[in-house]
Amino acid sequence: MSAVDLRAVAVGEIDAIVISRLKAAKFSRHQLLLAALMRAAARSAAAVHAATLVPAYRLLAAVQMRDERLVRGLLALPQVGSWAVHCLSRLNAFPGEPERVSPLGADLGQLAVVACAAALRAGHPFDLDIPLRQGAVTFPTLGTARPGTRAEWEWGRACLDGRGGRVSSSVSTVPIPSGEPASRVSGRWSAIPRLSAVSAGLAVRFWLDDQDPYLDRFGLPRAVVDSDGLLAWQDRLAGSWSILARRHRRLAAAIAKVIGTLVPLAEPHPAQPVSSTTAAAFGAIGLSLPADALAMAEVLVHECHHSILDAVTDLMPLTGPGGDRLTYAPWRDDARPVGALLQGTYAQFGVTGFWRRQRRTGSARARLRGDTEFARGLNAVVPTAAELGGSGILTEAGQEFVGALQARTASWQAEPLPAAARELAAESELDHRARWRLRHLRPDPRDMRSLVCAWLADDQPAMPPTAVGVSVERRPAPPAGGSARSYLLMLRYQDPERFQRWVRHDGSPSGDERDHRQVDVADRALLCGNHAAAAEGYLRRIAAGADGEAWAGLAVVRQRTGPAGVAAVLAERPEVAADLHERLRLHGTPDPDRLAAWLAGPGEPPGQETRAS
């Protein structure tokens, strides 16, 4: 990959030639993994190798003689990559801790399933043993046969002869429909659904695969898609593709070439969308059903950037050692290793570019959403790219890459943004950052003891809060459902009508299950614009006990009400104020505002307001 190509990828100018090279690299990787797997199995699983892998490999090679492109397409599939990595990890030829839920033979035997798919599609006669798991087998690009089995795992047989294709188990035989399988659904056979869309002359086609066992690798349970669900997915794709193909041509073309399979994931909580890309399964992305067409377009852009950068890093390392230090990533609730920032920053950069263009179109409401998302993107990408640039973990190529990305975002920062969008973005960002700091940062105990002593002695603070040392702690993930406040702060610009409905109901359920969240009274007051009541509620919660969510809420509300010094301390160092407050509980329960004002130092005139509420 040339330096010119690398810079083009860094700034999102990804053309078809570069994508072809990256896909070729991934295909080379699959070829290499397959070659290594055959050899590793011959050494350490000789019986399975002879009985299963060799016949399967021979069948694939025979089909390749008839139809090279077909076999190449199958070997390039994401589930083939993740299968090979999984098996090589089991054979200890590749790093990783694979799940050992299936017998090794059944895992290795998946090559026979791939070979059968190739032979079925090529019309090449065969007769091969195949592993059946829980009574079923999924042929990549074709579908799932469910002949049933007497045990969880069983060897069955697949064949194609003059009577057609079929799969047999100890229980039954299932015929495999020939020809275009997408329309065929019967009791014991279901084709893998395909989603497709065409807009402005640009077409896209995805598999929607909720069956293949080697695509179940995205860290969250898959969702099973029924016929109604399929319609919803198709509807989202059609809407998102219309947006992408008409307004984001280059991105759309990249998505159509890079992503081939969507793996439906279950939302861990209503209105908590998830998406994921895994390096082992290039070409597939995992995602829950997005809320609307714009959200789907955003997810496709986001995950496509992950996939592209992953392929780049297969060709050249962009980061070196030392990436384990934990830090803040504005798009995650957990503490992230700094080495992970590159992937996240690049995906967010792609999304920010998407909103930059998108914000120029549509109704006033749509433009406000676009402006706010663009502002949030910049707020996330600019500092993380700067942190990466100074982290010392980037290789020379990595420095080039991040430098090009920073230059591009610097030019975006000069673009005008409406004040309303800036405020909405800043408030969401503050809420997230304050919650993260309160959850993951631990102030240095010695520094805190000196602050306690100064407070008790009625002195000035021993040091400004920004000078207090902090360490990052990896804490358990927040409960599923996340923060209702965070969700509603975003709902203000993502779906203002629904937000207004929610406000009109005074935070009571509006008939939409996504809004059926437990919303604290202080949060409700904040979101309804009653800042005095919100502050009172948060202060009451803080007085009742350690409550990071309440401190973060107070940080948000004090941005509205001031005083400026208190607002600044709560926004920038909420963990110091909260920790000091806890330490002083033994000496009475100090007022959090008074404590924050004291930490802010004498320079701040008391009562000065940052903004009219």
Binding site: S2, S28, L32, A35, L220, A280, M316
Partner: protein, 98 residues
């Protein structure tokens, strides 16, 4: 210009592989030694390349590759992956622990 030159060089190598027997393939690999390892293909002159180009190999040709060549290639790939923590394997907008 650089892209054209690379494309030509790549096409030449592919043609050579296509018409190759195992002997020819082995010669291409050993005559393009990477620094520090004589069995690896030479990396791209612009940037380090972790992966050899195996796109044009048929399954029969893949099976005919020397075990040692494959083992060496996979070691390089595995080492690069071993250096990567989990966070560089899966990229998600949620905490996998949740």
């Amino acid at each position: 210009m650089r892209v054209m030159a690379q494309a030509k060089a790549c096409a030449g190598k592919i043609l050579a592989i296509k018409h190759s027997s195992r002997r020819v393939l082995r010669r291409i690999i050993t005559e393009n030694p990477a620094e520090g390892d004589s069995r690896m293909p030479r990396p791209d002159p612009d940037h380090e390349t972790r992966l050899p180009d195996l796109t044009e190999l048929s399954l029969d040709q893949l099976a005919a590759l020397d075990d040692s060549v494959v083992a060496n290639m996979i070691r390089v790939l595995a080492d690069s992956r071993r250096d990567c923590a989990d966070y560089q394997e899966t990229f998600s907008n949620f905490d996998a622990a949740s």
